[in-house]
């Protein structure tokens, strides 16, 4: 569904989206990695379980929430990729571990 613009920089940063390896350009957002990996959605809402994908890409809509490197509910469009970053689905509410 999404392609890189022809003038875009070379994809050099390796991350995983739901375990799938994907390379994205340096400076790209984790949301871009989700889109480039071809996922139709990245989260399910806590209210109804409806699937959601990155939408506004500017930190407003919260539809790109993902678990990134083990931290839940991160706005993936606001997170810059780093080598080895693990991006996973945010399914409903995050869990709290009272310990």
């Amino acid at each position: 569904m999404f392609r890189k613009r022809p003038e875009s920089t070379v994809a050099t940063v390796g991350v995983t989206v739901e375990g799938r390896d994907i390379r994205v350009p340096e400076g790209a957002s984790a949301a871009a990695a989700v889109l480039l990996a071809g996922f139709a959605s990245i989260r399910e809402t806590p209210a109804t379980g409806a699937p959601r994908a990155p939408f506004c890409l500017m930190g407003v809509c919260f539809d790109c929430l993902a678990e990134i490197d083990g931290i839940a509910n991160r706005q993936s469009c606001m997170v810059t990729v780093a080598p080895g970053m693990a991006i996973r689905r945010q399914l409903g509410k995050r869990a709290v571990d009272p310990k």
């Binding site: 806590p46 509910n73 509410k93 995050r94 869990a95 709290v96 571990d97 009272p98 310990k99």
Partner: protein, 371 residues
């Protein structure tokens, strides 16, 4: 000139609950709401139905709050059936957590006094020690020494409540007039006229429920409502799985999973700004109470102004000079919604406040101070 059976000034939770109750009593009321320039405590509150700390030294206030808590399930069910809006009431009781020995001792003393003052009416509470609380609330911070429990407390989605009251009011034949300010008012016994822009409306009854606006409105009707703003700040976390089975006073988890963190009290006039020092203080207390809260992201924060009478207790009054004029003032529009819709509104519809309301009169502030 439009004629109604009653006019309610103020479309927040207090005014809406009373207006809804009046419409249910069979009156044709008008509800005047200001607009986005208003301070709108009803859109900034915490959403507790909170009984256990209300009415120390004022048993009438404890009874009124308890009456409201008893009416709440009926109101919530009725609103759900009539409007299709689920207000999300949960009333499993509540716990106020204490940090440190001093807080716990003060709380114990307060709860004992509340029970003593309640007399035959009774006041069901229990002090819980740390071990009991830790069993109920895993992850309890080391600073928590104990807490007080009563079965009366609960919480609700107060925005849905406001929506449901408005919807129910209109469905029962009420007339909602938004974006109106009171430009002039003419009061005669059982004959009140208000002008707002080009509109003029009249009714034999009027209820002032304009929150902080009541201070200026009340004297026009031979009433007194010396309320002042008191700022409170709130932090809201991301949604998380259920951690607490009950509301915890200054901490509660909504049905949707957000954790709401209050509660501060500041005397700063009409300033609705947020200040980092207060936000830090309430966040710190939350984390001392439950260290895992520190892992949660704060996604929203706001400040709002409580409608605070001089002694912190509600003011309800009827005008002696202009019978038919009433006033309602409180900082507990959520907790007292049950009483406002199901007890206060019927009194207004009947034309006079019940004698049980006498201690709430603003006349209590007229006592000369001893030299």
């Amino acid at each position: 000139m439009q004629h109604f059976d009653a006019i309610v000034i103020g479309g927040g939770l207090v005014g809406s609950a009373i207006a809804y109750g009046l419409a249910r009593e069979g009156l044709k009321p008008a509800l005047i709401d200001e607009g986005d320039v208003a301070f709108r405590a009803s859109r900034g509150n915490f959403g507790l139905v909170w009984v256990q700390s209300k009415g120390l030294g004022a048993p009438h206030y404890q009874r009124w709050t308890r009456l409201s808590a008893e009416e709440w399930p009926k109101l919530a069910a009725e609103l759900g059936e009539r409007t299709g809006v689920a207000v999300g009431l949960e009333q499993p009781g509540g716990v106020q957590l204490c940090l440190g020995d001093e807080e716990l001792a003060a709380r114990r003393e307060m709860m004992e006094q509340m029970r003593a003052e309640a007399g035959n009416f009774g006041f069901d509470y229990r002090m819980l020690d740390r071990a009991e609380l830790a069993g109920m609330l895993p992850g309890l911070g080391p600073a928590v020494t104990g807490g007080s429990w009563t079965p009366y407390d609960g919480h609700v989605n107060s925005l849905y409540l406001l929506h449901a009251l408005h919807k129910g009011f209109v469905e029962r034949g009420g007339t909602y007039l938004p974006n109106r300010t009171v430009d002039y008012a003419a009061a005669q016994p059982n004959d009140f006229r208000l002008g707002s822009g080009a509109d003029e409306i009249a009714a034999p009854k009027i209820v002032l429920a304009a929150g902080l606006g009541n201070a200026a409105l009340a004297p026009l009707f031979g009433l007194s409502a010396p309320v002042r703003p008191q700022r409170g700040q709130i932090l809201v976390t991301e949604r998380a799985g259920r951690v607490w089975p009950i509301p915890l006073g200054s901490l509660r988890q909504t049905l949707e999973g957000s954790i709401m963190i209050g509660s501060s009290e500041e005397e700063v006039g009409f300033d609705t700004g947020q200040k980092p020092d207060v936000m830090q203080a309430i966040a710190r207390r939350a984390v001392e109470t439950f260290p895992y809260i520190a892992e949660l992201q704060i996604v929203r924060a706001w400040a709002a102004l409580r409608v605070m009478p001089p002694d912190g207790k509600p003011i309800y009054d009827e005008s002696e000079k202009f019978p038919g004029a009433f006033t309602a003032n409180c900082h507990s529009g959520v907790t007292l919604a049950g009483a406002h819709a199901n007890a206060f509104a019927p009194m207004v519809a009947a034309g006079a406040l019940d004698p049980m309301m006498a201690p709430f009169s603003a006349k209590r502030f007229d006592v000369p101070q001893a030299a």
